[in-house]
Symmetry: C2
Subunit: 243 residues, 2 copies
Amino acid sequence: MQVDVIASVAEARGEDMPGRTVIVIDVLRATSNMVTGLAHGARGIIPVETVQQAKSLYQPGDLLGGERFCKKLAGFDLGNSPFEYMTEEIRDRQILMTTTNGTRAIQKSLKAHTLIACSLLNGRACAEAAANLGRDVILLCSGTQDVFSLEDGLCAGMVADELHRLTSGRVELNDFGLAMLSCYRENRGALREALLECSNGKRLTKLGFAEDIEYCSRTDLYSVVPVVRDGMLIDGSESLLRK
Amino acid sequence: MQVDVIASVAEARGEDMPGRTVIVIDVLRATSNMVTGLAHGARGIIPVETVQQAKSLYQPGDLLGGERFCKKLAGFDLGNSPFEYMTEEIRDRQILMTTTNGTRAIQKSLKAHTLIACSLLNGRACAEAAANLGRDVILLCSGTQDVFSLEDGLCAGMVADELHRLTSGRVELNDFGLAMLSCYRENRGALREALLECSNGKRLTKLGFAEDIEYCSRTDLYSVVPVVRDGMLIDGSESLLRK
């Protein structure tokens, strides 16, 4: 199984996606929020690129969520903190979500055979789903404004590590994937510290979101596998994790 | 001291270079060859981008060195194997060198305050020179055809680790630098194996250059610091390592 890790949205190429399982990662905080929302009973999450799109697709009963420059958008129900995606309010609701990097990465990957949203919170479940699918994998680190973000690389390394284990080592990694696997193994005992030390961690801490970082650094809290079906992320764990 | 590690020549931006120490890395094999050549008495190495340029700058007594697609060029004296750069023939000679990635990276960095060529063979000496200069640092991984190469990332991580030690931790790394530092620390005891496992390592092994890889994976064999002066790489260790 070929597993390629891509450093940022800028380096993702649409033509590489067809036929593959593409796993999009935006640990701080888009995909962590998606995972949290689905784990807490949201019916589905529609990732959109612009605020305009979010508003035009809105139907009564939906929730609007997302951020620009780490801040909640005017008129939106939910911001970009994972704690907003675990309330009773979101149960059975459809959430229209727009963020700076994570939703862009998803939009760029829509030609994938299977498109999964992954974070540290559900890394093992995503790896199991990808191993079951048996197709070549792209792990797309969303990064920040087209620049690599450490937290996404650590998550990619974690998924690569799980895939390595699940396939008894039958994983061929590209060089960037080999680097992220090593990086994860070096930091696996101190992911919280690594996330607080990286660029986004420092920025979010200054903005008062240190608790978000601590939450997003937890591994395998959930077994949901957010997968895109007809443009909406739903929990695909029941079909994808079935052996 | 800000230390930014750049993943490949494609991501290097000329406008970031002025005022900084730029350390160019192409472990397999351009900068390993440059280091080896200067350590064995070559007077200087002129990195040029094209075969045409190399031939037009040639003067009697010079040597022509380099490769395209890992192969020695027709009419050239030296190929791209480090063992060709440690013979008696190169002593006191000027070498015109053109390679696919390493010389391109150097050309792109000519606006640096100080431009150093680094490999695992002289990583510590380069870190000491950069620490003495005291300026912000760019570690430019040459990569292969604009794609990240693991061996360059490991060397960047090694230099970052040395800079961390030499400055008692007063190093601010960008996220990619943090990742490479971790990657190096995870692999420091098995660099040879890591270099044989990565993409260029496998390719060169197939072409019969496994001994080159083993040689290039050795650390701190030399204390030369190849530095560009008037377009030529010379050994600057005497001035740069003086405390």
